[in-house]
């Protein structure tokens, strides 16, 4: 009897693993389990042990001994916990909440105008509107300061608005929560625009037309028909943007530091600087926990939305709302606004790079030394030595591009197999678990993420990774895997299983089915899944800072060093170069393959 049962089990296992999709699923489950277990165990350990330095002094215990001190200190009500946790938590929450709300308003209104109205210059507005998302968020924060700083607040230096119009904005407008919210919402508005725009474009227009026939006015139609249909997308967008705003680090550092506006991420960094490692890891854990909760809520609403998408179908014809006389002014206003936050920052950064003394805009102060100057040794001292002629700079640029491509290949290819295995096992518990777990790396704060992988590479087993390019690829690839896997899951969902079944009947091997049938069908959206990791890696600063062997190793780590030492011209030149490269990659891939960042982002919400 036992033998029969064993034989049965053996046969079942054999049958299960004869399907390549199942093998992949099990493989990724094990990989993700490892990718989750290692960081979590490492973090939990750090939360409960005494570290050398200040913690050892405060606790009067041996390094490495077990303690509840960090938890007690951080959460027990008192001055320390209020300034170190509760206020930063509140600030993070407000930044996430208002940032997401405004992003939805900016992005949603633009999406409606672009898909549902006869707005002029749609192509131009659509292209420019994407720029803030392609730029690192902190470049917008820097731009905000250049724009609005004035003699009445903080630094007392004139900004562009004061210089041109004599207008002095109040302090709350220049520094603190308000500008952080605005900058975050501008950065994520394209995200909302793509997600909401996608839904509006695919929405059955006959629903609105029926309401119109029933003589409902435009406002009522929007309120009663359009909004309920896009509501799940709105909520989903809100939660994703909220999550990013909640964990925001660079923007509050630039715009909040002056008025002592701390968020959880900036507080975590300050804790690490002071040697309060235990409390820093607790803050990281709180951020992860909040991310998981947000993700769970998001999943719930995304699931609810499915009922809507089954009711609606793609409309053959969409009747556009005639903006009539308002069309001209609205179109112009949209162009002015998008130019202000897409083209003007680039011009300001370009101007910064040609000023010998920062802040002096007179022509006599202009120089191209920071681009093409030839005294290569002098750049260390903040003098001349241009980034386009320095061998170090060009090598750092080459490494950054190479790393971005490698991360994209890693994340994109793994994402493709995850997408395939998850979709082919759609109804199984394992598939749902792998899908959910693939999002885990996204939730770990960047600084903690790199510290954990640095420690992993220091172990005997993985020491071959230490200071290697491979470690950078793995860290980048794993961190950006959620982008790629989500994109690929969605693109695979759009392909009917019947196509592959026909190939199976023809005894086509699995790899040929993937690479000869599925990939060609969905090549545009799959390529988009590769594009987002490239762009993310190109503009990533904090993730690689700790694990590179040298701060001049890559252009972004070099940028961080220049920012820290205050060599603004070089920092601006590198920033500009990165933004231009990202824009070029996006445009070229859009022209060559039809894939673009807007498709990569859009695929998040198409489930």
């Amino acid at each position: 009897m036992k033998l029969i049962n064993l034989e049965k089990i053996k046969n079942r296992i054999k049958t299960y693993f004869s399907n390549p999709a199942n093998c992949m699923l099990v493989f990724f489950f094990i990989v993700f389990l490892g990718l989750s277990i290692y960081p979590i165990t490492a973090m939990i350990k750090e939360m409960f042990i005494v570290h050398a330095g200040i913690e050892k002094t405060l606790i009067s215990a041996k390094k490495g001994s077990f303690t509840f001190y960090h938890i007690q200190k951080l959460f027990t009500p008192g001055e320390w916990s209020v300034t170190s946790f509760y206020i930063p938590f509140k600030n993070s929450f407000l930044l996430g909440f208002f940032g997401a709300s405004l992003a939805i308003i900016f992005g949603g209104v633009t999406a409606w105008l672009m898909t549902r109205s006869n707005l002029k210059y749609k192509k131009l507005i659509g292209t420019l509107f994407m720029f803030p998302y392609l730029m690192p968020a902190w470049t917008l924060a820097q731009f905000w300061i250049y724009l609005f700083q004035n003699t009445n607040v903080m630094s007392g230096n004139k900004g562009i608005v004061q210089s041109l119009f004599g207008l002095c904005m109040p302090q709350w407008f220049v520094y603190g929560l308000f500008p952080c919210v605005i900058v975050n919402s501008l950065h994520f508005a394209p995200f909302a625009y793509i997600l909401i725009g996608g839904i509006l474009q695919n929405m059955d227009a006959t629903l609105e037309e029926s309401a119109q026939i029933l003589r409902a006015n435009r406002l009522r139609i929007v309120r009663k028909v359009t909004l309920p249909i896009v509501m799940p997308a709105l909520l989903s967008t809100f939660l994703l943007v909220f999550s990013s705003g909640f964990a925001s680090y660079a923007v509050p550092v630039f715009l909040g530091g002056a008025v002592r506006f701390y968020t959880l991420a900036s507080k975590m960094k300050a804790m690490i600087n002071a040697g309060y490692m235990g409390q820093a890891y607790i803050i990281a854990a709180v951020m992860i926990l909040c991310g998981i909760i947000i993700l769970m809520i998001n999943q719930r609403y995304t699931n609810k939305r499915r009922s809507f998408t089954t009711v609606t179908g793609k409309s053959g014809q969409v009747s556009l709302v005639d903006l009539k006389k308002a069309n001209g002014p609205i179109s112009i206003a949209m162009i002015v606004l998008t130019v202000c936050f897409s083209v003007v920052p680039l011009i300001v950064f370009a101007l910064q790079t040609i000023q010998r003394i920062p802040g002096d805009y007179s022509i006599s102060n202009w120089t191209l030394d920071f681009w093409i100057g030839k005294d290569l040794d002098a750049y260390k001292m903040g003098m001349v030595g241009g980034i386009l002629v320095g061998k170090d700079f060009l090598m750092a640029l080459f490494r950054l591009v190479l790393l971005s491509i490698a991360c994209s290949v890693f994340a994109g290819t793994a994402g493709l197999f995850i997408g395939y295995s998850v979709v082919r096992n759609r109804r199984t518990k394992l598939s749902k678990m792998v899908e959910a777990m693939s999002f885990f790396p996204y939730l770990i704060p960047t600084i903690a993420f790199s510290a954990i992988y640095l420690a992993l590479a220091s172990t005997k087993t993985f020491s071959f990774l230490y200071n290697s390019f491979l470690l950078l690829v793995i860290v980048g690839g794993v961190k950006y895997l959620p982008f790629a896997s989500r994109g690929c899951i969605n693109s695979m969902l759009q392909v009917s299983a019947e196509i592959e079944e026909a190939a199976i009947l023809m005894k086509v091997p699995w790899y040929k089915r993937i690479f000869r049938i599925l990939v060609p069908i969905q090549k545009t959206s799959i390529f988009s899944g590769y594009l987002l990791p490239i762009v993310s890696a190109m503009r990533e600063v904090d993730l690689f800072a700790l694990i590179v062997s040298n701060s001049s190793y890559m252009l972004t780590t070099m940028l961080l060093a220049f920012n820290q030492t205050g060599y603004d011209q070089y920092a601006s030149a590198i920033t500009l170069l990165i933004i231009v490269i990202v824009l070029v990659i996006n445009q070229v891939s859009s022209k060559l393959t039809g894939a673009s960042i807007s498709q990569s982002v859009g695929s998040y919400n198409k489930q």
């Binding site: 350990k45 200040i54 640095l454 172990t459 701060s551 820290q564 205050g566």
Partner: protein
């Protein structure tokens, strides 16, 4: 999603039991204990014959013993020993000019291989504490700053060892021999004097006045540990006394302990920090910002920023030399040493020792001590300061008299208490 929660919950529970694997096991340096092999016997014999009377200290590790022996060798002897070391030496450095020193070092000692990794201050401690003693092939030595963390996180944990050459004991102040300081960097108080009618800074207590609210630009000490160390040092007896004296001279009466503040320095910190402005995240920004900004603005930043900024040189007054040359009473800024330390798991102790000797020499120090640099001073007092092209700099003793300097011992004993006091005022 429910599944994710379940999986994570399981993982969390599991992790409580599993710990962290290899890393936990290898968190302490894997250093071979001192053995009594033939090599050691030879060295012992040599030592006995040379200095029979001198008592040789006991060492826990072979590297410590080697460094002790190296400290008594000449450069030629060290070079001969260093040539026998087959491995490449990796130096982590927070100062990018170390690359220049390495270049000239290699020109002098062409048979050696030494490489530099430019590492930011914040990352330096994470990297060193993670990799020393682990399987990672990281640094052999480090040039780093922040007396508190160097002492308390790395030296006291036996992750870094000190090396100081016997031959230089007379020319470097004893307190900078352990840990070995190779140079000092100064951050000074500057004032925008583009309007001559603005009163000079005469006393640090001026900086606590309401008129200076948000007008003192300083890198947020929560983000810059050397700034935090400077503030903590103000509470030491020495600087508390100087602040009390300055208080008396500014307010005309002795400082009274009102129970509100633990000491005069605590009152100064409270009021000074209330006036500080953390708009700028880099010293270059502070320098340019106050130079172009309002007359009367104050900045606390590295002296060297003045060298490349003509406007700053024209508009800013150095508080130490203002007030008709009398300078500011209390303190004129702060200084922090850059330490040279050897990693506990180095494979090249002799090369490290030779390189430290070189850094302490005139030749090696020239990477910092030259006409193109200012605000950086060598710890070797026998080397004269090379005047910089601006003519603004002065000998190190001038600044040491007027600037607060880090003291590792004081910081070790008081850091935790004062840090929380300061942190609550900068948040």
């Amino acid at each position: 999603m429910k599944k994710l929660a379940i999986v994570l919950a399981c993982v969390l529970t599991l992790s409580c039991f599993t710990g962290c694997g290899d890393k936990a096991a290898s968190s302490e340096p894997q250093i071979e204990p001192a053995t009594s092999g033939p090599a050691e016997e030879k060295t012992e014999e040599a030592t006995d014959s040379k200095e029979a009377a001198e008592e040789v200290p006991e060492f826990d590790t072979e590297i410590e013993k080697t460094l002790y022996e190296a400290s008594k060798m000449s450069d030629e002897e060290l070079y001969a020993k260093a040539k026998e070391e087959k491995e490449k030496t990796v130096v982590y450095s927070t100062t990018s000019l170390a690359a220049t020193a390495i270049e000239t070092f290699l020109a002098k000692y062409p048979d050696l291989t030494i490489e530099m990794s430019d590492i930011g201050e914040a990352d330096m401690f994470t990297k060193l504490s993670t990799e020393i003693g682990s399987a990672a092939d990281g640094a052999d030595m480090a040039l780093l700053q922040n007396a508190y963390r160097v002492n308390n996180e790395l030296i006291s944990e036996d992750l870094l060892y000190n090396y100081f050459p016997e031959s230089l004991k007379g020319v470097v102040d004893e307190k900078y021999q352990d840990p070995t300081a190779i140079l000092f960097v100064s951050k000074l108080i500057f004032m925008n004097k583009s309007d001559a009618s603005v009163e000079d800074l005469k006393n640090v207590w001026q900086l606590t006045e309401a008129a200076y609210k948000d007008k003192i630009f300083f890198k947020n000490p929560a983000d810059e540990p050397v700034g935090m160390n400077f503030l903590i040092m103000l509470t030491s007896d020495e600087w508390n006394k100087k602040l009390s004296d300055a208080y008396k001279s500014y307010f005309g009466s002795e400082w009274n302990n009102t129970a509100e503040y633990k000491s005069c320095a605590y009152e100064f910190l409270d009021k000074f920090l209330a006036n500080c402005n953390y708009t700028y995240t880099a010293d270059g920004g502070i320098c340019g910002g106050i130079a172009e900004g309002e007359p009367g603005s104050i900045g606390l930043f590295v002296f060297s920023k003045l060298r490349t900024n003509e406007v700053a040189r024209a508009n800013l007054q150095i508080a130490a030399t203002g007030n008709d040359g009398a300078g500011i009473e209390g303190f004129a800024g702060f200084m922090y040493p850059t330490y040279a330390q050897v990693c506990a798991d180095t494979d090249t102790p002799y090369t490290c020792a030779l390189f430290i000797n070189y850094l302490l020499s005139e030749e090696g120090g020239a990477a910092w001590n030259n006409a193109d640099n200012m605000g950086t001073y060598l710890s070797n007092s026998s080397i004269a300061l090379v005047p910089d092209s601006t003519g603004l700099d002065k000998e190190v003793d001038f600044w040491l008299d007027r600037c607060v300097i880090e003291d590792g011992e004081y910081l070790a004993a008081n850091y935790a208490d004062v840090y929380e006091y300061i942190a609550s005022r900068i948040n």
